[in-house]
Symmetry: C7
Subunit: 282 residues, 7 copies
């Protein structure tokens, strides 16, 4: 009797058929499972504040993810069936690996965006309505999404920044701001009189509701060719520093005009630069 | 009797022949399948707005992809046949791996372009007709493709930017813009009169159809050597801010001329710089 | 008798059932164990000063980590069960590997943040209350977290910097500071008289409590067109240098006015630049 | 009788000899095949517009590629023969892997150049004769090759740029250009008269054949210390904007001279800067 | 008799039990060994000058390292036990590999810091007390640690720089320094008289103890609009160049005043720039 | 009779001895082969223009490569012998892999240099004697080597640039150059007269042998505060543009002096900048 | 009789014991061998000019390398012994791989330094005593080591640069230098007289021993507001250009004074910039 029909051989064949069925059924289950996860992830929850997407976009993204999952499951199933027939599939996997490498590298930015976005929300670095600055872009936060942050600039533009590109960020609405007024004064002005007038200007704005602490006169902060620079600082409510500064400057101008204090006439390149110095150090 | 012709040995040979046939047939099917996918991907759909390519380009790209697929299937088939003969193919795969590494790394930019492009469209960061700015390039969006975005600059040039290079983007057509007019005034001008004239200028443009909110006078925003700087801001319709600013400046010039307000005469480097400051903070 | 029911075969089946049970039980234990570790890591300790998170955030982060662990354990268990049935899972693992690659690369910044944060605390590079500078951001440290550092700028803004982005850091509150006053003097001034007056100014502030060492006059540190620059340096308590500099400048101004020392009138671009030179070298 | 001469053992030996022959013959065929592909790739086609190389260079490159292929086939063949003798070749492959890693990384730039070059041609980003700008290099495209693009600068130089280094590119010859003329006017000029003269200048050039649309006067676009800036814009044919601007400036100069309009005399740093502003936004 | 109790089977079981014991014992030994190494590495040696840590920090770091080692040994032991039961652990290792990848990449900066730190000390690039400059940070070296270098700036701040960020470094205390004095002279001055006076100034400081070589007058090093620039150089002891320069400038000022040499009056932007030119080349 | 001396066992031992001999002999042959290749590569050929090294350097490099090859062959041979004794060498190869990784990454720059160098020569981007510019370095090409390019700057210095660092390159000697002369004219000059004089200047140099095409007057290319700018361009032979420009300027100066055309007196920062503008676009 | 004491089993045990001994002995030999190599590498040779280290440093480095080798050999031996007992060590190797990855990446800079250093010496890019410039550092080469290059700046500082950071390098002592003198002349000067005087100045210095070729007058190289710029160039011996330039300027000044040539009085920003232009192109 030939060995081909021995119970042993039948057993092997039966085993293999069984396993092929198992693989196919398993693939089907896996696909359904992954699609369920995708659906659940994008299903708008009643209270879902974070990572919420408009319904249309959620449907686009979820259908895209589903077809990616589908192709990956097809591929894995195919390879597993081939392996059941003892066909070496190293070369197929290696071929897919090159594509996988390119995709893995190309997608790392996406992963980084999502991770950073998660921590921005977790650590409450900023939330909708805050005025923040990131690199050369600044504005009021309109949206903190799972991949991007949207800022509305003061001139009305909409800055769209991927979360992964937000490393260092400056939040202007976490605590009191400090208004800074630099007052250039010509060298031939009477320094004592100037100080009295500045003190008077400080006094006059002290009662403004946006001011937290009485203004402080820091004295002469720089000798510049042709002029001295004096500085007044004052703590204000967030985003009110601009108005307070304008009010102080207005008062100073009126007082100086009245007292005929000479103001510097010469042009100077670093004039504005100084306004950007960090107040407490110079 | 020799073992060479034993049923066992025949079985092994038969098995192998069968498997070789399977591999060759499978390769043929795979190739047809991949080509179908490629064709379907590039087939212009009736309503295909996104990722649409001109027919000629689609044909070039699809034939290129097909021949790449063809060579990859040839290679994998060859390796699988060799493995059927128990020939170790590690070295062949390793050799192909070096090429694959270079290609995988070299292609990651392409993958990143496509992924970013997908999210630009999904998140509607900008669409055709918007005026956007990316780094040192700005213009009206002419096309958002699967790999590149085309911007038409205001001077007529066509900027072509790969989507992957678009990280931070500023959209000028999502909401109201803010026109900003900086008015330098000499120190010896009468500040109260200047403010009255500026208020009058604000009043005169209030009724323009492009203006959303009445203009606001922010007061003195900087002391610069030789001049004060005052600022007017006003909310306008998108892309109308330039015209509104010109109208305000024209009015101011006329009023100042009439009132003989002295304008600063000295040259100053930071003159224009200030115009670039973010309005709401200084 | 068929081999199917031989004790040998039963043994194999029994063995496999046993091992499957083992794998499932082991997975359950592993999951519980990992969750315990996560809980313990985020459990606020009584004395836990470092790496402390607000309770709500700790709960969010720990539940996220737990569900990540859960999915990873599910995946590993599934693969191990498949392998028990001798199903080759290389392709599944390879598929997961592409995702793993993207995640691994995308998460490296997170790892770097935590490692750097650990060393910042270990080496005591700065602690809460110090005034530090990192790149273009400076302020008083408000918080050194496990991923980010928060600085409060002198103008009240809150800078949020990931620890990994803090490479070079400058701490202003580790030892005495040095106040630097540059005094521009016109070429036609009497240099000896100027030096006497500056010495007198130095003398007059010597007794200030913020001063550690008597002020030092460095002499002429630069010839600039139209002016000489002289420099006074003085060691002060941390963060008091600004006040000391203002006091010295005030005194100099008063003395120069009294002695009618001519000050330079011409505008000069590098005027402020020099103040940024490193004192001890020029 | 010894087992050494058993039919079994002879079979093994015969088998091995057969396989060695197969490997050697296969290597020979592979090498011939690869050389054929290389030849075909570099064979100048009658209509081959893209990726065409001069014959001499094609020969150099193809002979280089052939000898690289030759050495790789030698290496793979050698390793396969060793493996036939059951000699473990992991260490040889690992050794070659280090070299392969360096080559793979070093060659990724080359791959990126070719991929980008392909898309430049496919998407028709620019073609020979266009005037394009890439970073700090600009010129007329002389050649779009498979690895590099050649630009002829307006001053005659030849810029050679690898395609991979061309990310953002600006094409000046895809549509109408816009000529921009900034007219600085002294503050004491009569603004109404100036506007009339500028309108007259616009009118005078309206009929030029290079002009697509009648010139537009944008009004006062900036207050600068000592001067106003007015701006005229006009759509022109590609590359004709320089001539149109010169014609407008010439006309303005003549009209202003006739009307004795005062022009600003003071030097100003940002003078030219403004000319670089994006027209439509300020 | 059943095979279950055959000596063969007992042997296998005995063998496995033995090996499990071996693994557990080996793990325990390995853990103790690693902890010993960690302890030894951080144990303060009597003469340990380099890589010395304060005791408290050493204890923190060593306990952290120990618990990392502990978890790694646990993990490896677990995997080895599973493998003893022929359970395929590829998926577990692959899972750990993703985490390992992120950690490996995140930690490479740490490794680079330590390697660079080692070479800084080995090559004696700088040691405590030297005045060094790295990028935009300069100061006296206070500490060269195994991961960071601390510099005390001349204004008293403490710069903390990871060793890996120190690529190019400039050491000011390895050999003689050169004091450089640029003397701007108006075009209408008598050049011969100026040279005589400068030679006299050189002569007068020649005997200063900080001077290594007699000062040298380099002649006219630049024609600048409105002024000539002459230069004096002199070799000094390290860190004494500032004082020597001041002394020379003082002498020149006195001599020029006495001789009524006209000094340039006009402001000039590149005035200070020139002082930064490399002396020997212009 | 013991099995130790059975023919089977002897066969195994004989086989192993044979294979060990084969491995050792093969290693020897491989080493000789690699050394031959190295020798051949560095052997100066009679007509070897490219990649030619001085004999001494060739000898140094070839002996270094030989000893690297030697150590690699030793290592591989050792591992293969160990594997012959069924000793698992994974850990040895892994250990060597870490070193290989560092070397592979460290050497990728070298590989990139050689690849880029090959294409520079193949594509004839520049050859010895050309005047090229790469980033901030420019000069006449003295040598294009297999790793570096040497440029002789116009001031005599020798720039040494690795080929891999040469991405964008500008060649000044491939075709005609364009001389550009910017002529600043004061606003109060008679514009018609100026144009006549410039036309005369153009005419006067038209016959110079270095000029390819008659000079062209582009008209007024910019209004700058205090001055107009006019421009003359002319095509010249390579590297002759400097002389032609000087000749034109000389002629203009003479003509303007004769006609008493006022030249602008005020200092202006962007004066030279404009000379760098791209001629054809403004 | 039990199988435990069958000759077969004894053989296996004997074999294993033998192999363990082999592994241990082999490890010992390997360690001794590696230490020998390390010693030989660092042993100061009589004629060893390159890569020579001070004895103390060599000893430090060699003892460090030896203990690294020691730990690696220990680790490999341990793993091999475990593998002899059929214990799967994949997890151990994977664990070590994470550390290896971090070290491999962290050490790649070191490898790059050594490779670049080798080629700097091989290609003789610069040697001790040359004056070279790399990025913003310049000086006389004091030492070319196996990892770093030391430059002595003209002001006496010591620049320490890792070889890997030296990509583009400029050598000032390979051939003749060119002295460049820019002469600004006021517009109202007589251009012919100026040229005669400059020619006379050229003539007067022609005989200086540092001059290789007679000085050349390039004519008018730029029109700048308020001044013409003329230029003289002359070939000199290396490092003598500064002295030659000073001599020419001195002569010009004397001649101009004698002839009362007006020199430009106005300040100009780009004044010094021009001196940095590349002579031969403008």
């Amino acid at each position: 009797m030939s060995e081909l029909f021995s119970p042993d051989y039948l057993l092997v064949i039966g085993n293999r058929v069984l396993r092929l069925c198992l693989i196919v059924i398993g693939s089907g289950l896996a696909m359904r499972f992954f699609k369920l996860i995708v659906d659940r992830f994008f299903m708008p929850k009643a209270d879902g504040k974070h990572f919420y997407l408009e319904e249309k976009r959620a449907r686009t993204l979820s259908s895209l993810l589903k077809s990616i999952v589908q192709y990956m499951v097809y591929f894995v199933t195919l390879v597993m069936i081939l392996q059941e027939f003892q066909i070496d599939t190293t070369s197929i996997i290696a071929g897919a690996g090159v594509i996988g490498l390119a995709i893995g590298f190309g997608a790392q930015t996406l992963v980084k965006d999502v991770i950073t976005g998660f921590f921005i929300i977790l650590e409450d670095q900023y939330s909708v309505g805050d005025y923040v600055e990131n690199g050369d872009m600044a504005g009021t936060v309109e949206d903190v999404g799972f991949r991007i942050t949207k800022l509305r600039g003061t001139n009305g533009v909409l800055h769209i920044i991927p979360n992964g590109a937000i490393t260092k960020v400056t939040n202007y609405t976490r605590g009191h701001m400090q208004a800074v007024v630099n007052v250039p004064v010509a060298y031939d002005a009477d320094i004592n009189q100037v100080q009295l007038l500045l003190a008077e200007a400080c006094e006059s704005v002290k009662e403004l509701p946006q001011i937290i602490e009485a203004p402080k006169l820091l004295g002469i902060v720089d000798f510049r060719p042709g002029e001295l620079v004096m500085r007044i600082v004052v703590k204000t409510l967030p985003m009110e520093q601009g108005g307070v500064e304008a009010a102080i400057r207005q008062k100073i101008k009126t007082l100086f005009d009245a007292a005929a204090i000479p103001l510097p006439a010469a042009a100077q390149v670093p004039g504005v630069k100084l306004a950007e110095n960090r107040g407490g150090k110079s």
